[in-house]
C-alpha cells in the first residue's frame, strides 16, 4: 500500500467514525448560551463597525471628535475660573459599597440552619463619616430573598464512572455521584440567581471586591461546583488533593487559563476577570470534574445553598426588576419582582423535571 492510499484509508476511517446524534442537553445548553450572548450583545459596537465601510468609520470617528470638542468647550466656557493646573475636586464622592458577606468563606456549622447565601467577596468597611446628603432615590437596605424549588420526581443520583482514574478512588468517597442536579427536600442547590435590569435602566454598580473568588479542587471535585463572581475580581484556584489536576477554563471573553497543579497548592491567582460571561472549568485528567463560573458586571447575584435559598445583596433602588435563575441542566427561569421600601421577599422559582 502506497502512502497516498494509506492517507485515503485514514481519512475514510475518520470520516466513518460513528458519531451518533448530539447528546441530549447540548442543544438546549447551546441555545441558552446563544440567548445569553445575544442579550449582552456579543457582537458589540466594534463588531457592528466591522461591516461598515472605511468612509463610514472615518465619518463616525470625526463626528465623535467634534462632539467631544463641543462638550469640552461648552463645559469650560461656563467656568471662567477654571485653572487647568489645579487638581480637580471631587464634587460628589461615590458612596461606600454595601457590605456583603462572602458565601465562599461561610460554612454553617453542622445542624445550623443555613442562612441565604450571598455571593460576594468583600471585606468589611468602616462606617462612613456623616456627610451632608441631598434627596436621593430610596435605596434598599436589604435585598431580594427567595427560594428555588424542584417540582416533580427527583431523578436518582447518577454514579460517576471513575474507573479511568484509580488515584481518585481514595479521595472521592464510597459512591461519588454527579453534581449537575442537587435536590434536597424539594429545593435546588447550585442555582445562580441574578437581577436583570429592565430595558433602558442600568443597575447601580459598586467597585469589584479586591478579595479573590476561590475555586478549590478537593476530593477530585471542584468546590464550589458553581461559582459566581464579579468582573474585575481576581480568581484563585487551589488544589487540596495530593495528586495531579489540570485546570482548563473554557472562556470566550475572559483570559483563558489551562495549567496543571501536580500536588497540594494553596492557590494560584489568575488575575481579575475581564468580562461578564459563564464558562466551564474542567480537569482533563478526571473527566467528571466540572465547575461553572458566572462572571457578572454588577453585584446583584447569589448562588443557592443546599437549602435552595438565596439573597441578593442590597443596593438596588426601588422599582421593577427581572430575576433570572440559572441551573446547569434545567436552563433559565425568570420572575418579575418589584422592590418596595427596599425589600422584595418571596421571589420564588420552581424548576420542573424535564
Amino acid at each position: 500500500m502506497n502512502s497516498d492510499e494509506q492517507l485515503d484509508r485514514a481519512a475514510a476511517a475518520l470520516r466513518e467514525t460513528e458519531t451518533g446524534d448530539p447528546p441530549p442537553g447540548i442543544q438546549a445548553e447551546t441555545l441558552a448560551a446563544l440567548r445569553r450572548a445575544e442579550r449582552r450583545g456579543d457582537d458589540g459596537f466594534i463588531g457592528r463597525l466591522r461591516g461598515t465601510s472605511v468612509a463610514s468609520r472615518l465619518a463616525a470617528a470625526l463626528l465623535i471628535a467634534v462632539c467631544g470638542l463641543a462638550i469640552y468647550l461648552t463645559v469650560f466656557s461656563q467656568h471662567p475660573g477654571h485653572d487647568p493646573e489645579r487638581p480637580p475636586q471631587a464634587i460628589n464622592p461615590p458612596p461606600p459599597a454595601p457590605f456583603v458577606s462572602s458565601s465562599h468563606e461561610q460554612t454553617p456549622a453542622p445542624g445550623e440552619t443555613s442562612e441565604p447565601k450571598v455571593v460576594e467577596n468583600t471585606t468589611p468597611r468602616p462606617p462612613a463619616p456623616p456627610r451632608e446628603t441631598v434627596a436621593v432615590a430610596p435605596v434598599s437596605p436589604w435585598s431580594i430573598t427567595g427560594t428555588v424549588a424542584f417540582a416533580g420526581e427527583v431523578p436518582p443520583p447518577v454514579p460517576i464512572d471513575t474507573s479511568a482514574a484509580k488515584e481518585c478512588a481514595a479521595h472521592l468517597g464510597a459512591a461519588p455521584v454527579d453534581e449537575s442536579l442537587v435536590v434536597r427536600r424539594g429545593r435546588l442547590a447550585n442555582v445562580v440567581v441574578s437581577v436583570r435590569p429592565v430595558e433602558g435602566r442600568e443597575l447601580p454598580v459598586s467597585p469589584a471586591p479586591a478579595s479573590p473568588a476561590r475555586l478549590d479542587q478537593h476530593g477530585c471535585r471542584y468546590q464550589p461546583h458553581v461559582l459566581a463572581m464579579r468582573v474585575g475580581q481576581p480568581i484563585v484556584v487551589s488544589n487540596s488533593d495530593p495528586l495531579l489536576h489540570n485546570v482548563r477554563a473554557l472562556t470566550l471573553d475572559n483570559p483563558a487559563f489551562n495549567f496543571g497543579q501536580p500536588t497540594i497548592d494553596p492557590g494560584r491567582n489568575l488575575g481579575p476577570m475581564k468580562a461578564a460571561e459563564v464558562f466551564k472549568v474542567k480537569c482533563d485528567f478526571h473527566p467528571w470534574m466540572l465547575a461553572y463560573v458566572h462572571v457578572f458586571d454588577h453585584p446583584y447575584f447569589a448562588v443557592t445553598g443546599d437549602d435552595g435559598t438565596f439573597a441578593i445583596p442590597a443596593g438596588l433602588p426601588d422599582g421593577k426588576y427581572t430575576l433570572v435563575a440559572w441551573q446547569e441542566k434545567l436552563g433559565e427561569r425568570e420572575v418579575a419582582v418589584e422592590l418596595k421600601g427596599g425589600k422584595a421577599a418571596g421571589a420564588d422559582f420552581v424548576f420542573k423535571a424535564e
Binding site: 500500500m1 502512502s3 497516498d4 494509506q6 492517507l7 484509508r9 485514514a10 481519512a11 476511517a13 475518520l14 470520516r15 466513518e16 467514525t17 458519531t19 451518533g20 446524534d21 448530539p22 447528546p23 447540548i26 442543544q27 445548553e29 447551546t30 441555545l31 448560551a33 446563544l34 440567548r35 450572548a37 445575544e38 456579543d42 457582537d43 463588531g47 457592528r48 466591522r50 461591516g51 464512572d161 474507573s163 479511568a164 482514574a165 489540570n246 473554557l250 470566550l252 489551562n258 496543571g260 466551564k280 474542567k282 482533563d284 485528567f285 473527566p287
Partner: protein
Amino acid sequence: MTDWEGIVARDGPAVWRTVYRLLGRRADAEDCFQETFLAALRLWARQPVQHPRAALQRLATARAVDRLRRRYRESAHAGTVTWDALSHPAPSPPDRAAAAELSQRLREALALLPAKQADVFCLYSLEGWAYAEIAKELKVSVDAVGVLLHRARAKLRAELADVREEPVAHSTRVVKGSL
C-alpha cells in the same frame, strides 16, 4: 432576530458530526459544538450569511482543528494520558481497532499542519466539499485551495508513513507523549 432555535435544530447534527469526528472525545466535542454556535453568532452579527450550514461546518472544522492542535501540543509537553483511550480497555475487533488507530493518527497529524491546510483537508476529505465551495467559504482562490490541499496531503503522508499496514488487533493505543 436570528432563529437560533431553528438553526441549532436543523444544523446541529451536522455540526456535531464534524466536531465529534475530528475530536473523538465527547466532552471536547460538546465544548466545541457550543463554541461553534457562539462564533456563528458573532459572524452573523458582522455579515449576512447565505449558507448557514456551510458557514457552521467551516467554523466547526476550524475550531476542532484548533483544539486538536492544543491537545497534542499540550500533551506532548505535559505527558498527559488520553483518558478516552484508556477508559475503553475491552478489546475491539481487529478492523475496528485498526480504523481507530488510523483515525487517531490522522488527528495527531492534522494537529501538526498549519491551520488553513488542516481546514482545507478536512473540508475536502472529510466533509466532501468541492474546491469551489471551499474557496468561497475560506475566501481564497480555487487554485489556492488546490495548493493548500496538495501541501496538506504531502505533510500528512509523511506523518502517517510509519503506520503499520497490518491491523492492530486487541490493543488500545496511547498517543505520543502519554504516560
